[in-house]
Structures are given as C-alpha cells and as structure tokens.
C-alpha cells in the first residue's frame, strides 16, 4: 500500500506529526528503530526504579492561551489536565561569586539580575521587553551570535555569561554561544513562559501522545529502522527498512537529524572540521532523602565554577566545572518516587567516549563512575553535598545517546545548521525536530505540527475533498 506520509522516528516531533496526520485522515506510519518511543526523551526501568532519559523541565508552561505549550496541546487536542503539570518552585543560575534566582514569575529574574548587575538595570529591562515582544520570523534567518547581540545591548561580559549558561544548556549545539534566534526562543520558553514537570515525568506526556496517536488511527512500528530513503531523482518516494522491505509515500518526514537524514539519502554530509560536537554525561542519583531536605531546593540549578562560562569540550571526556542539577521534587505535586532524585548533566566529549568504549566494557563502566563522581565533587563546592546520600546511581554518556537515538556523536541539540523550513533539497522530504530549529520537548512537538500543517495539510485543504 501507498502511504500519505512516512515519519522517521517516534520522538516528540514524530509523535506530534503522526497525530496531526491521523487527525485529518492521512494514512501515516511512524517508523522507530528503538523498541520504545520518545527518542531523546524516553524512559526506562533500572533496579526497580523508573527513570526518564531527559526531562529536566517542560518549558513554556504558562497556561496562557498564547503560550507555545497551550498552542501545541490545542493542535493535538490533548487537554492540559492530562499532563498533570506541577510548576517549578524556583530555580537558580550560579557562578562561584553570584547567584540569580528565577521562577515562573519573570519579575523575580528581572529583580535578581538587577540586584547583581545594578549598572545594567535599564539595559536588562529593555532587553526583556524586546524579547517579550519578539515574534520569530517565518522565513529562515541566518546565524547570529547571541553573545555578540547581548554584549552590544548589555555591555557586560559576565552578565552575558549568566544569560548564556542556562540557554546554552537547554539548546545550543555550539560552544559558549547560541544562535540569537534560538536564544530569544529559549528566553521566552524558560523565563517568560516558565517551567513545570508533569507528575510522573516524561511517561505522562508520552502516554498522552501515544493514546492520542492511536485514537487518530496512525500506526507506530517500533523495532523498525529506516535503512535508507528511496529517491526518484531529487524526489523522496519512500523508505527501505532495515529488514529490506520498502514502503512508498507522498511525503517523508524525518526526525533523524540533518546529517543523519542526508546520510539516509546517500549523501555524505560534510561536517565543518573546526566544529566540535557537544554531548552530555548525565548522572541520575537516587537519594535516601529529598534533595530539599539537604538544602538543595532549586528545581533546576545551572552552575559554573569557573569565572567565565565553560559550555565547551575540553580534552578530557567531561568538563566538570560547568553543568546543570535538576531535582524533580522541587516542582509542585510530584510523585514521591521522583522527589528523591538529583540529575546532573555536564558536557561530554563524544570522541573521548568513543575511545573509552573501544577499550572494553570494564574501562567504559569505570570511566562512567569516575566522571560522574568528578562532576558530583565539583558541584559540592557550590551546593549542598548529596553524595553520602546516594543509594543508587545510573550514568549515561554520548555513546548511550547515540545508541538509542541514532544521533551522530550523541548530539542532543543537533547540527548548528538549522533548516527552519525543513527543506534539505529533496522534494517530498522534510526535516522535523531539533534540526528544523525548534528546541526541546515542546519545540520538537511544535516542529512536527508546523511541518505537517504547512507541507501536508495546507496542500490537502486546497485540493478537492
């Protein structure tokens, strides 16, 4: 049979795309190589505990109808109550000599920044208003450095570092900088629209999406990898699966990533030799108490021990001086099981981890523990030390991310080359997800929706029913 659309990947962008396609009677099929759905934000069970792969925070949490999450849920016809969102209590950005708290009330961030940088109070207010009123362009925008734009507006390198620390960690494929468009999207998503956590974590959101997908009649095939995209000249006409069978469709939507999708088309991507891919080492500590009981009361803590931002690779497998702590218990109304968790994320160097894997299982495992311990020790110089309370620890690396999502080098934020229109030069083929330029969980869903609306449904609306 011939499909209207084949969707490569059942991450958040693919699931959202599949729902929109099914809602309007399109014959669509989601193809997922992994046994589970969710992609970069999936879930697993280990030693009796339930873990999320990602999900520190669901951004754009505001219940205002104009909020991005509200718009996404409306498009998918998922009631907000299904997500059981608990807003953050508060979060912090910390350097060794300064701390800036923020909450879902943007006024807190403004007053904290103004207190830490009194000379920049007016410039900060102007910036905040500028971003609040900014609407992303519909057309693709060339890269611009957020660092340069911020420096021009604020005139203070340290203040710029304070703003870049959280935004880089939540969405930049670049070292110590982020695209100016993406910075503004993230500033709106994190600081203006606020963050929350679904009670039950990513499973709650994924269950809502999967239930909706089934209700819309879109089929999801797991353990079903796409080996290549079938082309007829410059047109994508279908896919060949890992088992050799072929499927044909009018539209192919790929969430595999830009370089990965080009490779599926038989094109060799030409990575910029100067570019250094960033990935993460993530440690999940289950404690014998809540982190708040130890004084660790931030929902998310972005920190940097060095004077200047070091969101960058160093020669070692990890960069322990800079990272993120995430405590699911520091959101309202969370399940007790999650309330004892502390997640720690630091930058990892994919090349070094590849070498460690090559040295065998034992060395790889030892390296995971060693680098996780280094990261925890580093954080203990700024935050209450939770290490003596850790009952269970799981660590994942760039290798784990690559293995489970197919993203080259375990890149979480994809290629620095974003294609806002999803166009990579083949008719009938569009990118969805991270490399289309939308970020994070909510961004990925919006990306799947937007591409389906513009390139599949709008055309259908024009044609005879």
């Amino acid at each position: 049979m011939r499909y209207d659309a084949l969707v490569i990947g059942a991450g958040l962008s693919g699931l959202a795309a599949g729902i929109r396609l099914g809602m309007y009677g399109k014959q669509a099929l989601l193809l997922e190589r992994h046994a589970l759905w969710g992609g970069l934000n999936s879930f697993y069970r280990l030693r009796g505990r339930r873990h999320d792969v990602g999900l520190h925070a669901l951004t754009n949490a505001t219940s205002a109808r104009t909020g991005v999450l509200s718009r996404v849920l409306r498009q998918l016809r998922i009631p907000r109550e299904a997500l059981q969102l608990g807003p953050q209590l508060r979060s912090v950005i910390r350097f060794s000599d300064l701390e800036v708290w923020f909450s879902n009330d943007p006024a807190l961030l403004e007053s904290e920044l103004a207190a830490a940088f009194p000379a920049r109070r007016d410039a900060l207010a102007t910036l905040s208003a500028e971003i609040a009123n900014w609407v992303p362009e519909a057309r693709p925008m060339p890269f611009a450095s957020a660092r340069a734009e911020l420096l021009r507006r604020l005139g203070d390198e340290r203040l710029v570092d304070v703003l870049l620390l959280p935004t880089c960690y939540y969405g930049s494929p670049l070292e110590n900088d982020i695209d100016w468009t993406q910075f503004r999207i993230l500033y709106q998503s994190l600081f203006l629209e606020g963050i929350a956590r679904p009670r039950g974590g990513i499973r709650t959101l994924l269950t809502a999406l999967k239930t909706r997908l089934e209700a819309c009649g879109t089929e999801l095939r797991t353990n079903c990898g796409v080996e290549r995209i079938l082309l007829d000249g410059a047109r994508a006409v279908g896919v060949r699966l890992d088992d050799g069978s072929e499927l044909f469709a009018d539209h192919v939507l790929s969430s595999a990533g830009l370089d990965e999708t080009l490779a599926l088309c038989g094109r060799k991507p030409e990575p910029d030799p100067a570019r250094r891919d960033l990935s993460f080492l993530e440690s999940i500590h289950a404690l014998d108490c809540t982190p708040a009981a130890l004084g660790l009361d931030a929902a998310v803590a972005f920190y940097c021990l060095a004077d200047r931002l070091c969101y960058a690779q160093n020669e070692a497998p990890t960069e322990p001086r800079c990272g993120v702590l995430s405590c699911p218990g520091n959101y309202a109304d969370q399940e007790p099981e999650a309330a004892v968790l502390v997640r720690q994320t630091v930058i990892a160097n994919p090349q070094r981890w590849r070498e460690l894997v090559a040295r065998g299982d034992e060395e790889y495992r030892a390296a995971k523990l060693e680098h996780s311990a280094r990261a925890a020790a580093a954080a203990a110089s700024l935050f209450p030390d939770w290490r003596a309370h850790t009952l269970d620890l799981d660590v994942f690396t760039p290798r784990t991310i690559e293995h489970y999502t197919g993203h080259v080098n375990g890149r979480v934020y994809g290629s620095p080359d974003k294609r806002q229109d999803g166009d990579i030069g083949f008719e009938g083929l569009r990118l969805i997800g991270t490399d289309q330029g939308y970020l994070g969980i909510v961004g990925a869903m919006m990306s799947g929706i937007g591409i389906v609306n513009r390139h599949v449904l709008a055309a259908a609306a024009e044609s005879a029913p």
């Binding site: 309007y24 109808r65 104009t66 409306r74 016809r77 929706i449 449904l457 609306a461 044609s463 029913p465």
Partner: protein, 91 residues
C-alpha cells in the same frame, strides 16, 4: 438548515479546537480573532474540520471570508446546502 444551524455548526468546530474558550458571548459581526485567541494554526483547523465533516473546500484565497461568524455563515450557506450538520452545541 437555516443560518442559525450553520452558526452552531461552526461554533461546534471552534469549541473542539479551543475547548477552553467561552463561545456563548461571541458577537457574530466582530472578527473572531478579536474575541477569542485563534492563531493561524487554529484557523487551518477550522478549514480542515469543514473539509472532514462536510466535504467543504475552502481555498486559501477565501480564508478572509471566515473572519467573522456572519462571514462564515454567508460563505458557507451555498456550500453546505442540503448537508446534515453536526450541531452538538445545541443539545
């Protein structure tokens, strides 16, 4: 089928797209977007629902005809002639 049925059928569609809006106070002569929060994605859905439920085709050039409830009724009257409308909002 009369004009008020058409209006109810449209409100039904909007209620499905934007379940949290209060549609009881809508002024049929005033632009929908000035009264409730509808973005271009929601608007596409109104068109898609009309197509799905009634087989009605609305080319993009005609979207502007749907700006108000009155506009919707005028534009859709000939297209919906003889069709059975789903009017859950009335019951």
């Amino acid at each position: 089928m009369n004009d008020s049925d058409i209006q109810i059928a449209i409100k039904d569609i909007i209620a499905q797209i934007a379940p949290d809006e209060d549609l009881s106070q809508l002024d049929p002569a005033v632009r929908l977007r000035e009264q409730i929060e509808l973005d271009s994605m929601d608007f596409l859905d109104i068109v898609m629902e009309l197509r799905k439920l009634y087989g009605v085709q609305v080319p993009e050039a005609d979207y502007k005809e749907l700006a108000t409830l009155d506009g919707c009724v005028n534009y859709l009257r000939p297209k919906l002639a003889g069709k059975t409308l789903h009017c859950a909002a009335r019951v």
